[in-house]
Symmetry: C2
């Protein structure tokens, strides 16, 4: 069952039912504008990652500011964006299984949806699905640029896989996917720079070897909110895939030299118990705010520390100043925005203390 | 948007689209039967916790085996159960805010929905909501029996709060909520026993002091999957509130002397990359399986270890034996069943290798 919206446009922020996913529209728009300004004149395009926001509405706002398209991780996410009118999508991931591949092929009728591979079996299965649907699918080769998760080895194995794609009448070789996920969260900027320098070197070599075989890369993609300035400066990447920049979470803010974006996304929660001195209990536990990258921060209330999350309770320690009142509403900055957003059906957009809009989290739960 | 079901009845398990929430119906029914057998003749009732299963279907199966009702944590969960025909529900939690209280009062027309308080402001707000809806609401006093989260102090403060409830024409004093959440996960049985012995003592004293004031407790509730045998043996508790027993997760299985239930709940996932030797990557990361209580276990494949979860990827290390094939489907035992279930729209019930039923996760995302 879809959950009902927790607010209505025009309502004061303080009347939003909680827990709710609140988007500070001024900060959010400033983040979108800031990214557009950072990329202007670099020749590097933004293909923002919709695994973070899961919303065709937000995708369109990014594209109005120059983003060339969107990334997703799952076919079900691509479907929601395509149905919502987004014309250019990259599944920055492998897709395995005949049912999923048939859906991916069917989507080509209404959008351009590219996908990644890291092995020859995936190429064969994609070719069969594209042929069955009488369509052509653009396929990128994902290379392992340092994260040791998915991705074929750079250099000759990458070239061999690209050649298999290019040889298929139903597939189009679209370039390289070279994203270093774990580098995003290395705290020191020089550590992030070193990891991306290594990724750039592997990517550059692969691009050159592909060119020697007559294969050009329409997309050389990668780069997230933690490292995109390194990929932009590389001269190799043509697209960056940042997602969290639109919202900024507590984890990215902990990077030394954090990215130049504002906290725009909050979980609004209510104090529901004050029975024990020194403790206030919130109605937002880890079903309401993801804790995989650390506990949330209480926004604008330095004396309050969110010290423990159970399923439906958040335990605040009152470390300094006055305790919050029973019923008081507090903004939490999530430790990690992507999985937090995925727990909600609605964004509540606020500006100047009032609810301005409600947007569905269109691909909430879209894992398949 | 609701996600489409990942399977159809009659389909072989291997054709279920992934990630999917799979319920082994034989194990699940055995767990329900086992709990009913354990409670038979004890005089202690089961009010199973629907914060775990979030399903009116499962609630009814529990009640067919003798459960007297259900617990929930949120009004939105109570609504889904009441709309699904469950006649006796306890919100084992505080409810704060006029909109939520109005919904709670309105529900009394179709179900009996009790609620907990741990302070006088909550009593006053409940009284106003019940009066406005021209109904009566049953209210339990939650006591802090050792977890230091919610709950008023046992003894005289508990009696004072109960007297305020009993004095209201719109409220009915319903008894005590005395649940020790953190005790459920103490590894050693003697540690759990000691924690519950302390909770029992605080509860017994409060029940006695209430009786001296002429207040009897229709419900003395608490006890989860990790400790319920202690509460049952106490002679004080009248109801236990176990939820996870129906499914059993990896965390409860790590208790020394784990509860006598079988793993019945799995996340079915697909191997989507085998590009790097010694590693297999699954399509189920922490958006698909909760990791707040530890990583999932690969069921029935001891040589495979789920070693890392990112948003959409699970990284398996092949520690012994043959690696899984690309496209192979593996069952994961979640570290924690409650928040894992909350990420899905559908249960896929399987028996003998085939899909037998699809049940909605009715209160998925019901946080308000």
């Amino acid at each position: 069952m879809l959950q009902p919206p927790p607010a209505e446009p025009g309502m004061p922020e303080d009347e939003i039912d909680t827990p709710a996913l609140v988007l500070d529209l001024d900060a959010f728009e400033a983040n979108l504008d800031r990214m557009a300004a950072l990329l202007e004149g670099t020749g590097v395009r933004l293909r923002a990652h919709a695994k973070t926001h899961k919303s065709p509405v937000i995708a369109r706002l990014q594209m109005q500011r120059g983003a060339v398209g969107q990334c997703v991780q799952k076919v079900a996410e691509a479907e929601v964006l395509a149905w919502g009118g987004i014309p250019d999508i990259l599944v920055s991931n492998q897709v395995v299984g005949a049912r999923k591949l048939a859906r991916l092929a069917a989507l080509q009728r209404i959008s351009h949806v590219a996908v990644c591979v890291d092995g020859p079996e995936q190429v064969a299965a994609l070719e069969a699905a594209a042929a069955a649907a009488d369509t052509r699918i653009t396929v990128l080769v994902e290379i392992d640029c340092g994260a040791s998760r998915c991705g074929v080895e750079a250099g000759p194995p990458t070239v061999a896989l690209a050649q298999r794609i290019a040889a298929s009448p139903h597939l189009i070789f679209g370039g390289l996917q070279s994203y270093h996920g774990s580098a995003q969260h290395i705290r020191a900027p020089e550590g992030r720079a070193a990891a991306i320098a290594h990724a750039v070197e592997l990517t550059r070599r692969s691009v050159e070897q592909l060119a020697q075989q007559g294969l050009s890369c329409a997309i050389v993609g990668g780069g997230g909110t933690g490292t995109f300035r390194n990929e932009v400066a590389s001269g190799v990447y043509t697209e960056i895939q940042a997602g969290s920049y639109a919202f900024m979470d507590a984890d990215y803010a902990r990077n030394a030299e954090p990215p130049p974006f504002r906290h725009a996304l909050f979980v609004l929660s209510t104090v529901m118990s004050r029975a024990i001195p020194g403790i206030a209990v919130l109605d937002a536990g880890h079903k309401a705010v993801a804790i995989d990258s650390g506990l949330p921060l209480v926004h604008g209330r330095p004396g309050l520390r969110y010290a423990g999350a159970s399923d439906e309770h958040g335990k605040l320690l009152v470390e300094d100043g006055a305790p919050p009142a029973l019923g008081e509403k507090l903004r939490l900055v999530p430790g990690h925005c992507d999985p937090t957003i995925d727990r909600y059906d609605w964004y509540v957009g606020v500006r100047g203390g009032r609810v301005e809009c409600l947007w569905p989290v269109g691909s909430r739960g879209a894992m398949a």
